[in-house]
Symmetry: C2
Subunit: 446 residues, 2 copies
Amino acid sequence: MSGPKDDKPGPSRRGFLAGAGGLVAGAGAMLGARGAPALAATPPGSPGVVNAEIEPFWGSHQAGIVSPQQGHTYFAAFDLVTPKREDVIALLRRWTEASARMSAGQRVQAFKQDADYADADPVEAADSAEAMGLPAARLTLTFGVGAGLFVKDGKDRYGVAARRPEALVDLPRFNGDQLADARTGGDLSVQACADDPQVAFHAVRQLARLADDAARMRWAQTGFAASAGGGETPRNLMGFRDGTNNPSIRDADAMGKIVWVGNEGPEWMRGGSYVVVRRIRIALEHWDRMKLAFQEQTVGRRKYSGAPLGKESELDPLDLDATDKDGNPVIAENAHVRLAAAASNEGAQILRRPYSYNDGVNFTAERWPPWRQGMEYDAGLLFICYQSDPRSGFIKIFEKMAKFDMMNQFATHTGGGLFACPGGVAPGEFIAQRLFLGDSNDRAGL
Amino acid sequence: MSGPKDDKPGPSRRGFLAGAGGLVAGAGAMLGARGAPALAATPPGSPGVVNAEIEPFWGSHQAGIVSPQQGHTYFAAFDLVTPKREDVIALLRRWTEASARMSAGQRVQAFKQDADYADADPVEAADSAEAMGLPAARLTLTFGVGAGLFVKDGKDRYGVAARRPEALVDLPRFNGDQLADARTGGDLSVQACADDPQVAFHAVRQLARLADDAARMRWAQTGFAASAGGGETPRNLMGFRDGTNNPSIRDADAMGKIVWVGNEGPEWMRGGSYVVVRRIRIALEHWDRMKLAFQEQTVGRRKYSGAPLGKESELDPLDLDATDKDGNPVIAENAHVRLAAAASNEGAQILRRPYSYNDGVNFTAERWPPWRQGMEYDAGLLFICYQSDPRSGFIKIFEKMAKFDMMNQFATHTGGGLFACPGGVAPGEFIAQRLFLGDSNDRAGL
C-alpha cells in the first residue's frame, strides 16, 4: 500500500464499510504514514455516481425546493458572529463542499486513513460518523440568507448591503403572532431533508461544526412527513389532507411563475426562491374535542375524503360561490381553504413543503373553564413555503388568514423566518457566490 | 345500502380509502340513518389479515419487546387520576381494543358512516385520522405499569398492592442522575413503535384520548433509529455502532433467560418483562471536539469498524484481559464496553432497544473556560432495555457504570422510569387482566 489515495471522490458511506476491513488490517504497516486530509479534486456529487437515492446537489436551482418531498427535515438557522467578509465566504465554501459530498452519500470530509488516528498525534474525528453505512437517503441541503447578512444593527458587516433584494423584506407582525425570539430569524438558514432523520441531523451537525467561530446555531426544528404512498395527499396532525391544491413540482411552468426568481430579481437570486418557515403549534387536544362537522367547516373540506364541502372527491375544484338552501355559503367565509385559495388572493400562490413536528408535551394551565391543568402536546406544523416574492406570496395570503381564518383558534405561530435562497451552484462555485463576487463577468476581478 | 356493517373487522386504513368514494356517494340516501358506533365482534388483529407490515398484537408476549426494531418510537407515561379500580379496568379494556385495531392498521374505532356526521347532531370524530391511508407500519404498542399503580401516597388505590412484584423496585438514585420530575416515572407506560413516526404518534394520541379522565399523560418522548440496512449494527448519535453485543431477539433461549419473566414472578407477569427507559442527553458538541482515539478509548471500540480495541472486526469477542506492551489494559478499566460487559457483571445481561432523540437546541452557558454561550443540542439516546428482573439487569449493570464509565463525561440521564410489562394478551382478554382479575382459575369469581 502506498498511502492515502484522495485524488478521486471518496467512497460512498455504504461502500466504505466493505473496504474498511482491509484498511484496518493494513494499518500496522502504515503507522506514522499519516496522510494529509486532502479533499477530492473532482467535484463530489458530480454525475456518474449511480444511486437512485441521491438528489443532485449541483444545478441551476438549489435542491430541496422542487425535489420530491423527503420523509424528514431538520431546519436550522444560524447567526453570523464573525465581523469579516472573508470568513463568511470561507464558511460558504466549506458548506458547499461538505453539502455536495453529503448529498452524494459521502462523509463530510474525505476518509482519513486509519493510520491517521493510530498515529501518536491523533486528530479530532473528521465526521461524527453517525451516517456512516447509511445511504444518501435523498438528502438535500437548501441554503438561505436572512436580512441580517446584509445589515445588522445598522452596519453593513460584509459589504453586501447594497445587494439586499427588495423582496427580502422584514416580515410584518401578523395578527396572533407569538414568535419567540429564540425560535425566530437568523442570518443563514439550512433546510436539511432526507428520508432518514439521522441523515438529516448528521448533515446539519457537520455544517454546524464547519461553521467554527464564523456562525452559531440560533434555532433548529425537526419535522416529519407522513409516508403516504401511492400518490395520495398526506395528512397533517389535524387529520386532514395537506397539499391538495399545492402546485405540482412537476409543472415547470408553474414553478417558474410561482417559485423561481426571474429577471425581476438581482442577478444572484435568479433561479433562487424565498422560503418562509413558521413553527405552528396546534392545540391538538382542543381540536380533538371538536365535532367532525365543525372541523370540516373550519377547513372547508371533508376530513376523510378531502373533498371540498359540497363536492364529492378530493380533486374537485373549490366552488367558493356555492350556497346552501338558506343562501349561506357552503364553504364558510372564514374557512381555511377559502382564505388560502388563489381566487381569494388575486391569484397569489406559493409552493408548500410542509412537515409536522412533535416536540413532546409540556405543562399548560387553562385560564378558562374548566381550568384544566396538565400536559399538552407541543406538536403541530413546521410550515415551509417557497415563492418568487414573499410580498406577493406568503405575506399577501397570510395577512388576511391571520385575521380571519377559523383555524387560528387552534394554531399559534411560535417561530420561523424569511430567507432568500440563492440560485443553484455549479461545480467550482460556492453557495451565494454571485452575491459576494458578482456575476461571472466581473468575477475575474475579485 | 342497508346501513353500517360493523359485524366484521373494519377495513384496514389503506383499504378503507378505496371504499370511501362509494360511501360518500351513497350518503345522501342515508341521512338520518345514523349507525351506532359498534365495534368489531371478531377480535381485530386476528390472523387472516394479510399484510407483511403488521406485527401481531395478540400473543403470549406483548409485541414491541422482541419484535424487530422499528424506525420510530413515541414513548409516553401516564398518571392515573381516577380513584376507582373499575375505571382503570375500563381504561385497559379500551386500550386493548384500540391497540389491537391500530396494530392491524385499522382506525381506533370502527368506521362511522358518513351519515353519522351528516346527521343534524354530529359527533366528535372517533379517530383523529392522521394515520388514515397509512399502512400499519409494523406498529407495536407495549404497555407497562409503574409502582404508582400499586401504592401511591401510601394508599392502595386499586386493590392490587399485594400483587406488586418484588422486582418492581423503586429505581435507586444513580450517581450523576439529573432526572427531571416532569420527565420521570408514571403509573402506566406505552411504548409505541412503528416505521412511520406519524403512525406512532397517532397511536399514542388515540390512547391518550381514550384515557378520558382516568389517566393523564405525564411525559412523552420521540425517538428514531438509524435505518441501517443489510444487517449492519446501526450507529447512535455518538457515531459508534450501538448493539453489537446485544443478545439476539431470534435466540429464544437467550430471550427466555434474559428478557421474559418465568415462574419466579407473579402469575400476571409470566411471559412479561421489565422495561427501563432513560432519556440520556449527550453533549454532542463536546464529544465532537474529542480526538478520535480518545472517543475510542472511552467506548473501548474502534469507531468506524466497531471492532473492540486490539481486535480487527466488530464481532470479535472482547478481550478484557489483553494488555499493551507497557502492561496497561488495551480496553481501559473505565471504558464503556468493559463496564457494560456481562463478564464484568457476573453474567448480567439486558436486551437493549435503543433509539436516538433530537429535541432541537437550547441555550447553555458554560461555567468553565472558555465560557462559551450559545445553543446546544438537546439530543442523545432514548435508552430502552428489557429484562426479567431489573435488580439483576439494569440496576446491577448501571450502578457501576454510573460511577466509573468514561462516557459519563458526555452523557446525562435526565428522565425515564421502570415499568412492569405484563405477559401478552389473548383475544377476549385485556392488558394486565391477570393483575386485576387473577389467573384463569379464579376469574369466574370476579
